[in-house]
Amino acid sequence: MSNATAVPRAALPPDTPVITGWSAVSPYGIGREAFAAGVRAGAKTAVMADAAHGTLPSPEVCTVPGFDVQELLGKRGTAKMDRLTALTLVASDGLLRDADGEPAVTTDDLTGVVLGITMGSLENVTDFLRQSYTNERPFYVDAGRIPFGSLNHAAGATAIRHGLKGPNTTVAGGRAAGLLALNYARRLLGQGRATRYVAGSAEEFSAAHAWYEATAARPGEPAPLLGEGCGLFLLEPAGTAERPPLAAVLGIETRVDIDDDPFATAGACARRALERAGVGADEVWAAVPCAAPSDAGRAEYEALAALVPAEALRRVPSMELLGDTSAAAASFQIAAVLSVAAADPDSRGRAALVTAVDRDGAVAAAVLRLLGEDA
């Protein structure tokens, strides 16, 4: 198979959504460079959990190193902030501001935000309820923490921080949430409701989340190694993009696994996504499954292995290295493809496939055309 030649930007239909920027706050560190370097090195991120988390079902975690909220975001307004919001805001700074903290991206009243999540800050909600149950009166709860417990808070806070007044949406879908968010942005751009989008997904590590995951695991299954972080993308229509596109979003397909057959569902979803994007399975340069530590995750891998060339599945190191980052996963998968592609000129013009399976049954697949980084 010969390498496809790079697709000139002008060849893209003007309404094709393109990714023109990205940022990540991840177990590899804060920022895009740390993420890209970590992915290319295939580095592990698991560490012993901070004692502040208390007793955990599993001692190791993949948390964001050096994530000091007040140092990164300032003291004002952060004392009671939940971790999910903080991760998202730091990622949004990476996407929308330059090294001096000045705006790096044109924004207006039609700049949208869509963030994929699982269930918001589970730490915030469980702390709130714990206070209600254990304090002297059931309404003796910390009012200052309440706003952060709203499932849409992180997206709203991103809008407040950067003055983004366009459609502001939060979607929940666990590991599929990043792709659901991207699809949401694609649709609303297509309908002219926004001129550009900040789209991505986020997950926080907390003891509460770790215990829910451990409890939800089947008897005999080990507590999963959990990760956290936030990946955000700048998505614009190709025709009006202000920056060179890194990748075009050729299509996103979704299904629901209604028969507990993730192999069949993930396979059908990926095939359909490729078909609709006009990309042959043998043309896929990189395929990145979510690598969930579950039967569904293993089935997803098998489904891709049966579909795309073996080298495509080896192109990007396994997302296992980051732990199960749940809602952040799909955005990290896309960021990982972009990281690997940026270091490999052969990637230009080639297709990438990113898939996700979630315990609640959502299955999603995105097909990207890698356009390379123009120096």
Partner: protein, 83 residues
């Protein structure tokens, strides 16, 4: 009474500073929370709830508009607590 009033005042000042997000040094007893310190009315609910929890008291929400500065807030808490 287990605590002397000045100690209570000091503690109340700390609670207010934390909840309206200002430095303790800037928080004089008479500076107006909303007009001078940039707090909004919703922040005052944070203060009210923190005072309730600190002193195991219940403050009527209708007292909220009276809580304009440290002095006045102390008086609202004192009335609710019967100090």
């Amino acid at each position: 009474m287990t605590t002397a009033a000045p100690e209570r005042l000091t503690r109340i000042r700390e609670i207010i500073a934390e909840n309206i997000d200002v430095d303790l040094e800037r928080l004089s007893d008479t500076a107006l929370f909303i007009d001078e310190l940039g707090a909004d009315s919703l922040k005052l609910i944070d203060v009210l709830s923190a005072l309730e929890m600190e002193y195991s008291i219940v403050i009527d929400m209708n007292e909220l508009p009276k809580m304009v500065n440290v002095e006045a807030t102390y008086r609202v808490a004192a009335t609710a607590a019967g100090w």
